[in-house]
Symmetry: D2
Subunit: 354 residues, 4 copies
């Protein structure tokens, strides 16, 4: 492999198109030589605009390119399985955007393909590369807040996505689509999750009922270490894109998150005000670039990926356990070795928690 | 009754002593004519210092005072039942500090005594009188955030109380002792609670195990209206006394809470910093005074009390349900009509929440 | 003198009436035995309401009271001179609200009377007793920001006072009426002022021209120590009462000030907002009480007053120098020994500052 | 001219090297075809790394390139005059980094060359393109704060530059080197400056005296419109890079500025803290890119530049007037038509300001 990685980008939606630009212009180690999208014209135009040699209407043709080193997969989640399996078989390095898949079965198939072909696989969870989250982890590892004991996460989208997008059959539903980030962060900061209980309802958008999903949820988490946590997710943030996480430790607490787009404050009779973060690109654009850079650098250096396919699989497991709890209306216990979960129906009746 | 209410204060601990001063000096409608405490000398000294005519070592003698109009009960929770029952029998107006009692049986006895004797009873929940909480309620009622749909509460004490105080037999345990406020606020903002699930553990102070209680907990709440909520409580806030509540509505969110004692900001190489709220009196002293004033004014005007004994009883019911859930490790469903709760053990297995 | 100080309050406007209550109810060492106001009825009513034995329509009669230990003067500034001179002659302890007087000549007369009769005199500058300002001073003295080198002050009133009140003949004008606090704080934090340059204009309320005063001003300050500063004052704060001070040191900066009445934050599509501090009592009420308490305690203990008549005189000197600079449109140099100032008209023409 | 502008970058220091990358990778309309630096090797390496066709050790050779459309000048200020004059003579479009020059005479020579050759000239003042400053201007123009009446600016560097860099002969001294931005912003928000008074001293770094400059200053400003302002500048910000501006209007105030690098908050016993902005690139990197993009777009579209050479000249005039005031220790009056200033020595002795 040369000092530059020849990359192909699969899936050219809004984020995919940006990925092409990030990789082509802002990441020295990457050289985008191919793009693919079901919309062939879109692929061709984007290739032309960004000096990309090849464009395709399917990933299979792209994988035939001899000098292609790596693929960046940002296509619809339902297509991840086949692309990953094929790319692994072709021996390409892989970056796959979250979530890994909708079903746990698909995730297992992908994991096996990766193992069998022994290819580099980076699971995309850009929040870990955010300046705030990475600084928080650094400080926690440095012992600044002692031992982490309580995890709190808030995820608010400013409005609901289209019903087509939100449909649980495609998106996995609120607890997977929005929650996948929180389940990843929960594991990253606290270790494996042992139990989840979910409560949720259709509270803001009655039309969510037509797709059999909820728009608001709150969860409790128990971790294997005995520590605990909570998460709340909403499609109806209304005031903006609000992603906050709080890690309570035995010696202090660290909060991650902010809520302004521009650093201006308006002071009027009615009160003091500032603007909000409109949506995820205003909050996390930099993180996407840093993550892609990390993928390219680790791949070139033949180091371990920062986030593995197991990370993707376990976050998915959490999302499924949470969804199951929501449906069955009881806590769900996770067996992290077997990668399975079961509903809890028996009273334990201890005098006290543990 | 004269234009001033002749008041007796029962229980002269730190807060009780302050109540004497508030009533005597800062509340025009009150005239403290008696104080009582098991420590007769303490009662006598406090009476002398604050121009209080009578001092007693038990509430019974105080209740014999003919010109006594009202009692303010701030004695240990375990004594509330007998004092309330006796005061009601004596026809005195009553202010009773939270929690109403430790046991639900005691609460019922007290409620019956109040009803039977038809006396004025104000349940002490000072947070409702806090500038922040009352302003929030005003704005919510004015429709500023639309319909409230998610309730979030955080309660952090900066350190654990003495094991003697914290002992669940006396304090009711973390979920009652700290949580009683949150259960009251939850009802106040969202209506009756329909289901609670509690997760907790000993995470900061291993010695809590000796008294069979936990030091950290997170909860999910379902309200009868279908709305949802979460609460987290900790004895190990470490950095200060941090009480925050967030009400998410269909048109916006309102946050209540703050974290500074003095309005100064220190800017140094190491970062920008400000101090924290040390403990509850620095945060809520004003609320105590406003609440006592409200009690006196409503009592004199023969209006309904702002907070009733049912409010006290229902908050207690929530705390017990939460504690039961913690012990039985399953969600607990509340029957608000019967004032009872039961553990949920059956899978509902709907395809979607509701 | 008994362990309690018998106090007479002179001047029963809004603040004066509150002073009576603070002294009578919240300050253990004080016993208000007399009140005086030109409006005899007002004095009589206030006396009755607050259990004050005597009421008068002039300070002379009050000073005849044999058991009167101290007077608290909160009457119009134009009356301060005669009351202070008479009270000093009567050997009474004195608390005098800021500003000491309008004219420097009056201040000198008062100072001489105090010295001659050797009476206790506390100059009222309540900001020094504010939690924020006193905490800042404590931290600065502890060396937290190194040596203070730049002083910055901002004073904003939310609206202009009545033209009658604002009239420079009565109020001394913007730079005295509002600035007196800043000149006191400047001296307190940085030492004596050596030079002032003022710039100002009528920018918000054209009607200010009818009383020959301005509504906005900015100033530069040079201190005797060589350090520098700036202050801005406005009658047209509009959004609230905003008092902020910043002390820059060689090792850090400390900011004092805040801008909210209640601890609630409203988050809506239009932005994140909180309320503001409406006016001075919402910001400084506590400081008034703490200051009165300090006056009473120091007086009883026969200690030196925390703020002296010289402090009052020097802040006044600063205000006059600033006003002179504004009128003459050139910097004004202060001779702190002679308590005089002169306009600077000669170019110094050094290559560099010093 | 093609749809892309062929650009040459002159001066390849830290910022100059970044400009090459911004123009080459992030700005679609630009095509960097040449770089120049006195250090020929540096130029050659940078050209190679960024696919730049030509590299030179002087600007003259670069200007000979036939297909060169525009030059971006980021070389030392002392070289600006000759480069601008030569580039104008060669008919190239010009972007010139602030300050325009050190001396006013040089500025005049450059302005004449631009006029004579009628070339496009964009004066670099990146703050105008900052998200905060541009949003503030937009809101002010929309009338949100009424008429602007008071301007307040704060500029703090976290530490002093090298004495070699800071030397007034090269940098123009504190009031030019740091102040040039504030003089530009003052004009942008408030209109032309009519009078400046400067106060400053060596307060943090005694070694500044060896280069005959100060490290801290405060200024008052009068604008031609009668409005007023203040600015403070420091080389000893210590706690970080703190750039704040406040515009007070007749109906509200707008503040621009912020003080954190990452969105994390650490809550410990000692207090609540967050980090600071280390230096200017962490604060303004985005603004540099947006400004270059604006230059390229306006140049291609043959529109007027957003910031003209007159803007550069007038900001310089303000800086010189401020420096003169500092040295002569009296206010300096600016004649904006003649582009001159004079020291004020005569008392105006009006009764009131205007």
């Amino acid at each position: 492999m040369s000092s530059k990685l020849n990359v192909g980008v699969i899936g050219l939606g809004r984020l995919g198109s940006l990925y092409v630009e990030y990789l082509q212009y802002q990441i020295p180690g990457a050289n985008v030589i191919a793009v693919a999208d079901a919309d062939a014209e879109r692929a061709s135009e984007l290739a032309k605009k960004n000096s990309v040699a090849h464009s395709f209407s399917n990933h299979g043709d792209m994988l035939d390119l001899k000098d292609l080193d790596a693929v960046v997969i940002i296509s619809p989640t339902s297509t991840h399985r086949d692309i990953v399996v094929d790319a692994a078989a072709a021996g390409k390095m892989i970056f796959c955007e979250k979530p890994l898949s909708i079903s746990l079965d698909d995730a297992l198939v992908m994991k096996k393909a990766i193992k069998k072909n022994n290819v580099f696989f980076h699971m995309g969870f850009m929040r870990r590369f955010d300046r705030g989250y990475s600084a928080a982890m650094k400080r926690i590892r440095a012992g600044e807040i002692g031992k982490p004991i309580v995890f709190k996460a808030t995820s608010k989208d400013p409005f609901r996505p289209s019903l087509e997008y939100a449909d649980p059959k495609k998106s996995g539903g609120l607890l997977l689509d929005m929650g996948i980030h929180d389940f990843d962060l929960a594991r990253w900061f606290m270790g494996e999750v042992a139990e989840i209980y979910s409560v949720g309802n259709v509270l803001a958008y009655p039309e969510m009922e037509t797709i059999n999903d909820i728009d608001n949820a709150v969860l409790t988490l128990k971790f294997e270490s005995g520590t605990i946590g909570t998460a709340d997710m909403t499609r109806s943030g209304i005031y903006g894109y609000d992603i906050r996480t709080e890690i309570m430790g035995t010696e202090g607490t660290i909060q991650i998150g902010y809520l302004r787009e521009t650093p201006i404050t308006i002071m009027k009779k009615e009160g003091i005000s500032h603007d909000t973060v409109p949506y995820f690109m205003e909050r996390f654009e930099e993180s996407y670039v840093i993550q892609l850079k990390d993928f390219i650098e680790k791949a070139i250096a033949e180091k371990e990926p920062s986030i593995t396919i197991e990370d993707g699989e376990r976050a998915l497991l959490g999302a499924h356990a949470a969804t199951h709890s929501l449906h069955q209306k009881l806590p769900v216990v996770i067996d992290n070795e077997a990668m399975e979960f079961t509903v809890k129906t028996e009273i334990e009746d201890k005098e006290i928690a543990g």
